[in-house]
């Protein structure tokens, strides 16, 4: 370009140095907006975390502080942070392994609650009688805190693993039932009329119209459910023991390992966040095009 139109006067030469002439965008030019956007998104929370850590370091720095400052946490729990998957047998495992044990329980309990919740929700959403009969029961049962189910479930199953899974199930199932039922009840009357005109069978009506139409609601329920499962499993594991991140926290408390607890809490938060994002992403992928406009 410069060769084609060389700057003729000093004036133009000046302007061409201050405002370079248009050329094909280089890789750097193309990457720059993405980098800028990335920084704009990640920088503010990063600054807040650094500021909070600084305040914490200052607040917990005194001789009679009850909690360790971040620097102590790093010094005490470096091995825990850097080696999440070590296994020295027994309960002396890395945090990653504890987390995996907890996630496994959540996977089983949550899958159960998803299946049962969607089916019951469809029933309650379709049948007026089922709604009148079951809804009051659901409304009472869903207010029972997860841990309150644990003694009963231990008595019934006589083993830690199924009891924990039951607690997850019973915690997560209510929002799934209720949201599915709302979604089914909100299937537009127009779709019902279309189905009646083409004489869709009851089975096809559920499979081809109700399920996709209610999918956004179902996924809202599943997302709330997976969050509640994660809350419930941590609490349940504190009581039932064995391998699991909840037990790890309780064990650390019993041996006064406050730094370990802080590291574990960070991991619990991050995993909970990832579960939520994952559910949201799956929901968005599956329900793409389901909602109108």
């Amino acid at each position: 370009m410069n060769a084609l139109a060389p700057p003729a006067t000093p004036d133009e030469a000046m302007s061409s140095t201050t405002m370079p002439m248009r050329r094909a965008p280089s890789i750097a030019d193309r990457v720059r907006p993405h980098v800028q956007h990335g920084l704009a998104v990640t920088l503010p929370p990063l600054l807040v975390v650094i500021a909070l850590a600084a305040v914490w370091e200052w607040a917990a720095g005194g001789p009679d502080a009850t909690l360790p400052p971040p620097s102590r946490v790093w010094a005490d729990a470096k091995e825990l942070i850097l080696h999440p998957f070590y296994d020295r047998g027994g309960l002396d495992k890395g945090l990653g392994l504890h987390l995996l044990a907890s996630l496994q329980r959540v996977a089983v309990g949550f899958t159960l609650s998803a299946v049962v919740g969607v089916l019951l929700g469809m029933l309650v959403g379709t049948s007026r009688f089922a709604m009148r009969a079951l809804d009051p029961l659901f409304q009472v049962l869903r207010t029972i805190p997860p841990l309150a189910w644990l003694p009963l479930s231990l008595a019934a199953f006589r083993e830690a693993q199924p009891s924990a899974i039951f607690v997850i199930f019973i915690t997560a199932v209510w929002p799934i039932i209720i949201n599915t039922a709302v979604g089914v009840r909100n299937v537009p009357a127009d779709y019902r009329n279309v189905a009646r005109v083409i004489r869709l069978s009851r089975f096809d009506w559920f499979l081809r119209i109700v399920t996709p139409a209610a999918a956004p609601y179902i996924f809202t329920g599943l997302r709330i459910g997976v969050g509640l499962s994660w809350l419930a499993i941590i609490a349940a594991e504190m009581l039932i023991g064995g391998v699991g991140i909840g037990f790890f926290v309780w064990d650390a408390w019993n041996s006064s390992n406050l730094s370990d607890i802080i590291v574990a809490l960070t991991y619990i938060g991050i995993v909970g966040f990832m579960l939520d994002r994952m559910m949201a992403l799956i929901g968005r992928a599956v329900t793409r095009g389901t909602s109108e406009q």
């Binding site: 537009p188 009329n193 005109v197 081809r208 109108e292």
Partner: protein
């Protein structure tokens, strides 16, 4: 006179016992291949009448007989094009029509035949190029065309149009009206169309059924539109027969059966 094809006799619809009926004694005989427009002010029960014919709503008294058999439930022989298109948003244009084809011709046609029939109906409304798109990727006029294709794909005896062009802009509406006229000319389907557009009623139909105001609405007058087909909207714009039919409907709606000032 030709044999009656669709017989609506003394239809009364009352939504709640004790309340005045929405429709009170609607009587109409429709010939095969006829294009009927039902016009009236909002709330005159014209959509209610269409729903009774469709079988979506039971008549309190009276009934509808189509080709000798009484209408008791909805069915593909009375395909409805709904006011707001009612396409399923998670299915593509093709799949929306195909679903209706599969349900209504699943036993009589092979897989390949059903595919061909679906494409043929999409071609009829010129939607072949957009067959793989989802409803939220196409315009309102296109959605309505798919709705028409879906209804036609059921091979209905009567095509029921519930204010099919009401939500469209004037240009799109004119375009679609021309397409519906062409399809009617080609297939000879019996059509019952609900509308509140006087020009549309005169341009498209053989007879215009004018409804009195509700409640207790009934047929006030029936106008024979004697215009020869094929009709051309430009040529008709200044045709005295078109203008007098138009005037007759306007007089009915705004002189003898004008809505009270509140509306």
């Amino acid at each position: 006179m030709e044999r009656t094809f669709l017989d609506i006799s003394r239809v009364v619809v009352r939504f709640a016992p004790g309340a005045p009926p929405v429709l009170n004694g609607v009587d109409l005989k429709v010939k095969q291949g006829e294009y009927i427009a039902v016009i009236g002010h909002s709330g005159c029960g014209k959509s209610t009448l269409l729903n009774v014919v469709a079988g979506l709503l039971p008549a309190t008294l009276g009934g509808v007989v189509l080709e000798g058999s009484e209408v008791t439930e909805p069915g593909p022989d009375r395909a409805v094009v709904f006011q707001n298109h009612s396409l399923l948003p998670w299915l593509t244009v093709y799949e929306n029509v195909r679903l209706a084809v599969d349900r209504t011709a699943g036993r009589t046609m092979s897989r390949a035949e059903r595919d061909a029939w679906t494409l043929e109906n999409l071609a009829l409304v010129r939607m072949t190029d957009h067959a793989r798109k989802r409803p939220n990727e196409i315009s309102g006029g296109m959605k309505q065309r798919v709705g028409i294709a879906r209804a036609l794909a059921m091979r209905p005896k009567v095509l029921l149009l519930d204010e099919p062009f009401g939500a469209l802009d004037a240009l799109t509406r004119a375009h679609l009206q021309d397409q519906v006229m062409a399809i009617h000319a080609r297939l000879g389907t019996t059509v019952m169309m609900i509308t509140h557009d006087v020009d549309e009623a005169v341009l498209l139909s053989d007879r215009i059924v004018m409804m009195t105001n509700g409640p207790n609405a009934t047929i006030g007058e029936i106008l024979e539109v004697g215009l020869p087909r094929p009709r051309d909207r430009l040529a008709l714009a200044s045709d005295p027969r078109f203008l007098s039919a138009r005037e007759a409907v306007l007089r009915f709606l705004h002189e003898r059966h004008a809505l009270p000032a509140v509306a």
